[in-house]
Amino acid sequence: MLIAVLLGFIFSLLLVFIGRFLKGKLAVLSALVPLSLFFYFLKFIPQLSAGKIIRQNYEWVPSLGINLNFTLDGLSLIFCLMITGIGALVFLYTSSYLKGHRYLDRFYGYLGFFMASMLGVVLSDNIITLFIFWELTSISSFFLIGFNNQDPASRKSAVISIAITGAGGLLLLIGGLILGDVSGTYSIYEMLTQHQSIIGSEYYILIVLFIFGAAFTKSAQFPFHFWLPGAMKAPTPVSTYLHSATMVKAGIYLLLRLTPVLGTTNFWNITLICVGGFTMLYAAIHALFRVDMKSVLAYSTITALGMLVFLIGIGTRESILAAAVFILIHALYKATLFLVTGVVDHQTGTRNLEKLSGLRKVMMPIAIAGIIAAISGSGIPPTFGFLGKDLIYESSLQSLSPILITAVAVLTNMLLLYASFVVGVKPFTGKLPENFQNVKKPGFLLWAPPLLLAILCLLFGLFPGIIENVFAKPMLSALGFSADIHLKLWHGFNLILLLSAITIGGGLIIYAFVSPSGKSLNFIEKYETLSPRSIFLNFGNSIHGFSMFWTSVFQNGYLRNYIFTIVFFLVCIAGYSLLTNLNYRMDYASLARVDIYQITLSMVMLIGILFTVFSKSRLTAVASMGLIGYAICLFFVYYGAPDLAMTQFAIDTLTVILFVLVLYRLPKYLVLSNTKVRIMDGVLSLSLGILISLLALEVLNEPVNKEIAEYYAANSYLLAHGKNVVNVILVDFRGADTMIEISVLSVAAIGVFGLLKLRIKTLERRKFSKFKKFEK
């Protein structure tokens, strides 16, 4: 299975190098990848039907508990076959749809990458690994949505989608981590055994919220749904594959997968029902107002996703079964409709429903596919969709408040019927407008895939046994439900049939009376400011504004503010620490020990400092600074440090000289800051000074350790052959310091040299560009 997952990645990597060969006529060959995977997974059906679960483990980062534990069970299988099967058709379709496109190779690369990631998501048993693949699907989606990267709207949609699904991914990560922490394992399979302790844990609500966050963003639940209509900027094969059939179902997959781990609590169920229910209604109503075929499809996809969440929320065996079956139904008919839309778009150049009609005359196979898909999507017998609708009503009737929930379901289904018909039927019925008379017939690879899918819609409806045995039973047992079910198309006359009839009737009435128009689109767009999308964008803008504000407050360009902040920070925390625990004992004896020399020197220094700080002449300031240096030098003499005194003195003078050499090039002092600022600075500086003084005094009270000095004193002549201990330390005991020190000096000299001799300005740059030839 590792190879199966990696195959897509390898394929896309290879495309980087061999892409140019696959761009032309060989493009169709790329479908071999998903096709072979499809057959690979088909191979497992007998084993799974026999109740087996296939596991394969590969170590990856065992020290973090993250391994590639692939598990293929009934649930995974549904998704795997969908991913590879629809994938194969999409690959084929694309080879014709984007024939001769400059970047066809890239497109296949993204698709392959996506397919592999998606397989990873549904096969991973390790929840962190699942997250890893989950993020990869987001990225591939980003690239696919932004495929037409010259179009600003396309780029914007891509960024919005990555923002939302990326954020959701992080929620999944954190949810997974807590889950791992609570259950002690990252393996979902192992978590099953700990169901009770997980839902009893204090973190349960948190975990569920995070997981919901991930699933709702990925599966476009209200209020995160708006990225999906935006994602329709992607080429139609992408919308088909990612944004209806597979990727958006990853959230559903996650919810299904975790139902036995986290489910069966009221919190879980009610939240899902509410969110799912609201989403499906909201989106279904929105679909009424759209004129772009893809827009309609996008909202109807959101509706379907809401429906799925809703079903999972009901949480009974029947509803889970309904959800699983509906996933397949939706994948089949929605993929068909998307492909149909793609063909219409490809051939006529428009997706505007106001303009399209009567196309059956120019593209019969497509019309057939569209109509079958629409029927299936509307739940009209004998299609697969009808089977699904039955199951939905069956489970809604068993739920906590059957009437309300069923009513919502019925209403939604009516609207879904409208959406399916508007896309699958409307463009093909009626009169063919004149400007479409000459539309070319689509090629084989364009019409065959949707037709094939449409036929499947019909086939599964007629032979529900395939579904029951191959998918439904293994799936239910994988989720820990009893697999004792029997699917059939005809249940006899009962309430459910009645509901279906109402649905179909109502839906057809809506279809008859509402027609897509620009007016209604404009009408709904008036309320755009209230939509989650606008709220999200406004929120994003205010974050941006806040960031601007915060950044310009701190990074304001004024060096003195930076310094002020830093010193303030230091004074605050060090002062806090020192003052709260201060136990300084003033040692008056030490005061008495101060002699006249110290006082004199200190006075000289003080005068120097005052002059340096307050002088209005630069030269006086520099000279006073020199004075301070000399006083320090005398201190050194007084305390027995002649080497230091010499060096300090020489250095100090050299510094003053350097200053003097450059000073006359510099401007005169100006009084640049006002009194208030100066007082503030003064207070801060003084508090730092006091802090340092206190610290020094406090340290001086501590016992002293002289062992190092003693070692040097004892060994410097006998072992290191020198009598001036300071010098011996410098060139021997701590010679490494000196080696670096002279390196510092060297670098400084080079720096000064370069700084003064080398000036690259615009002029030199220009010269430099003439220089190019030399460089060549």
Partner: protein, 90 residues
């Protein structure tokens, strides 16, 4: 009165007073040249003090410091004059 006491109570105070006087002029100015001279003088007196202090502390090693002081003081005065002139030129 030993020589040490003599130095401590007579000579060093005299030199100290001198330092203070020169320091006073350093503060007063009024011209930059005056400050430069004051600085030069301070260093020179400083080297004298170090010299006497080395006698007082019986540390001939400190004489070397006095020597460096004298040398560098010269350099600094030269530099300052250089500056004064250059500044004028500008």
């Amino acid at each position: 009165m030993t020589i040490n006491e003599y130095i401590e109570f007579i000579i060093l105070p005299i030199l100290g007073v001198s330092i203070v006087l020169v320091g006073f002029r350093f503060l007063m100015g009024p011209t930059i040249a005056d400050r430069i001279i004051a600085l030069d003088l301070l260093i020179t007196i400083g080297s004298g003090i170090i010299c006497i202090y080395s006698l007082f502390a019986n540390e001939p090693v400190l004489l070397d410091v006095a020597m460096i002081l004298a040398l560098i003081a010269f350099l600094s005065t030269v530099a300052f004059s250089y500056y004064l002139k250059k500044r004028k030129k500008k």
